[in-house]
């Protein structure tokens, strides 16, 4: 089986400007993945399927992952002028202090594809694609035209994560009902306030009941 780097080189040779990045897997399973840029993802996928050496004809698994905005706290050494009173005289002294700076790394939605080769009997080759953010730019190209196996699975990712697959022939909700609004597999999904009357609420239900009645302003 070829390593992720070799497959990356093969894709880049066949599809110029494909923009493939190897995403190492820090775990013990050794399943490293290839991050495809959205622009040439379909050509790259077609190459993976049709290339005689690779022959990745079987798309086993498609799934989404939600990566939230990450707040990263970094300790930085900063040198800055500080005004100090030394022996009764005010002076400006350069001083190096350690500061904690926070920055927010924007989150994104990710689709993960596990490919195998039935012809050559190896795998998995993991490919991923990422959206620009989690809110308004949630599109990515669909790989269903390349592997039909993605038809229901991409619909499921659309339904539960809210990734919009451009080029999917029939992108509808699959598990939730059509009128449903949110995407329940997102990490920050909030359950709807669907409290129903219960004569003796307790524990979580009691808290839910309380929140509900406060919101409604009435007591049932």
């Amino acid at each position: 089986m070829k390593t992720a780097e070799e497959i990356k080189a093969a894709i880049e040779a066949a599809v110029p400007g494909a923009g493939v990045t190897v995403v190492p897997n820090p775990g013990l399973s050794g399943q490293h993945s290839l991050l495809l840029a959205q622009e040439h993802a379909v050509q790259a996928a077609e190459f993976l399927r049709d290339d005689e050496d690779l022959a990745l004809d079987f798309l086993s698994n498609v799934t989404g992952v939600d990566w939230l905005d990450k707040e990263i706290a970094e300790k930085v050494r900063v040198t800055k002028p500080v005004t100090k009173t030394v022996d009764g005289v005010e002076q400006t002294v350069e001083e190096t202090v350690e500061e904690t700076r926070k920055r927010v790394e924007p989150g994104y939605l990710e689709a993960v594809y596990h490919l195998y080769s039935m012809a050559k009997k190896y795998g998995p080759v993991v490919i991923r694609m990422r959206t620009a953010n989690r809110t308004d730019a949630v599109e990515m190209p669909s790989l269903t035209p390349v592997w039909r196996s993605g038809e229901f699975q991409e619909r499921e990712v659309f339904d539960l994560f809210g990734i919009v697959f451009k080029g999917h022939p029939d992108l509808r909700r699959i598990l939730m009902w059509d009128e449903f609004k949110d995407h329940p597999m997102r990490r920050d999904y909030v359950e709807p306030d669907d409290y129903e009357y219960e004569p003796t609420p307790h524990d979580e239900v009691l808290a839910k009941a309380k929140a509900h009645t406060e919101k409604q302003g009435t007591r049932e």
Partner: protein, 390 residues
């Protein structure tokens, strides 16, 4: 959304058979088969457009049993999801356990002792035998053989379920495997009883085959119906007996050699035509191969621990990373994809359900055939709604 609003868009490279045209006489009839149709094995709906008896369009509708298994598992610890995997494909809880344990073992780099590996093989093959027997029984039931073949299958299945109950305490919700082994060691009496049951299985397979395989009605209803081409099957990710019935030699027990499957001698039955009859026949032959594996495993099973003594049960936190583990479940490739962030519960937990993905080609197999055949084609896919909807 009504079936009229669904799209059958022409996308370049989209692997779909030509659209079946209505003959223009009479009206088209839209039928919702299910969700409470006796042939749908649960709550599943097929929106069918009929031109007379002929199927023009068919769209499966899922989600009646959706409980967001993945979300629940992401909020629970790794071990807490083990009993919940039983409820995915409730006919084959032990294979589900194995697939999940395998994925977590890959993630955590966990070893499994010999005896536990043998036990896993024995239990998985017993599961396969009872699943295939029941599937054939249900298929015959849908063909109109009301009850009798199903009862023959269930009589044998009951013996196997008794074994499961004796070992795990439960007939169907077994919750038996653990990360790094199995929960309890079987007694010598249990192994003896298993040998007895396995010794009785070939006679059952013979009987089943004698009654059914050359049955005229079965042949007339099944041969040449619901044909699935191998190219489409591979492209659509179809796995398990359905794929092999189309003639593609891909059995994960041979390809991945997960567990200790490289030690056993068995053959992979393949079909020629990819019709319902081949799917039925592949299952019959797989029962026979499974019996062969069971005999070998029961003869060779070594003594020893069933649980790796170094396995961590409490405070189980795999190293950050991800893993995809898959097994050959009776219905097809059952996979679990896990992402760990080093915490006590998985960051991402995904089940690759063979039942759902095998249904991708349902419309392709049904287009142009009679509505009575849709029931049979659907039955030959072998699904369980607990796994389709999750």
């Amino acid at each position: 959304m009504g079936i009229a609003e669904t799209k059958t868009a022409r996308v370049e490279g989209w692997n779909r058979p030509p659209v079946v045209e209505a003959d223009g006489e009479g009206e088209l009839l839209e039928v919702a088969m299910g969700p409470h149709h006796p042939s749908t094995h649960g709550v599943f709906r097929m929106d069918v457009v009929l031109d007379g008896e002929r199927v023009i369009k068919l769209k499966p509708v899922f989600g009646y049993l959706h409980r967001n298994h993945e979300k629940i598992a992401e909020k629970a610890s790794y071990l807490a999801s083990m009993p919940y995997t039983d409820r995915l494909d409730y006919f084959c809880s032990l294979s589900n356990n194995w697939a999940y344990a395998l994925a977590v073992e890959k993630l955590a780099g966990q070893e499994v002792p010999e005896r536990a590996e043998y036990l896993r093989v024995i239990l998985a093959e017993l599961t396969r035998v009872q699943n295939h027997a029941s599937t054939i029984g249900f298929l015959l039931q849908e063909m109109g053989a009301s009850g009798t073949p199903l009862m023959y299958a269930f009589r044998e299945r009951e013996k196997i379920l008794d074994l499961f109950e004796g070992l795990t305490g439960s007939r169907m919700m077994c919750n038996y495997m653990r990360f790094g082994g199995c929960r309890v060691d079987p007694s010598a009496a249990w192994l003896e009883q298993t040998c007895k049951v396995v010794a009785g299985l070939p006679a059952f397979a013979d009987e089943f085959e004698r009654f059914l395989a050359e049955n005229e009605i079965l042949m007339a209803r099944c041969q040449g119906v619901g044909v699935l081409k191998p190219e489409l099957a591979v492209n659509a990710g179809v796995t398990g007996p359905m794929l092999r019935a189309s003639g593609v030699n891909y059995d994960l027990r041979k390809v991945d050699h997960y567990g200790i499957y490289d030690r056993f001698k068995f053959r992979v039955p393949l079909g020629d035509h990819g019709d319902i009859y081949d799917r039925y026949m592949v299952r019959v032959l797989e029962i026979r191969e499974s019996i062969g594996i069971l005999e070998q495993a029961l003869k060779e099973i070594p003594a020893g621990p069933v649980m790796d003594p170094k396995a961590k049960i409490r405070n189980f936190r795999p190293k950050a990373g991800e893993a995809y583990g898959r097994i050959e479940a009776p219905k097809g490739e059952l996979g679990f994809y896990l992402i760990s962030d080093g915490g006590p519960n998985p960051y991402r937990y995904r089940v690759r359900p063979p039942s759902l993905i095998n249904l991708t080609v349902l419309e392709d197999m049904c287009l142009g055939s009679n509505v009575a055949d849709v029931v049979l084609i659907f039955g030959s896919v072998d699904i369980v709604l607990g796994e389709v909807d999750r």
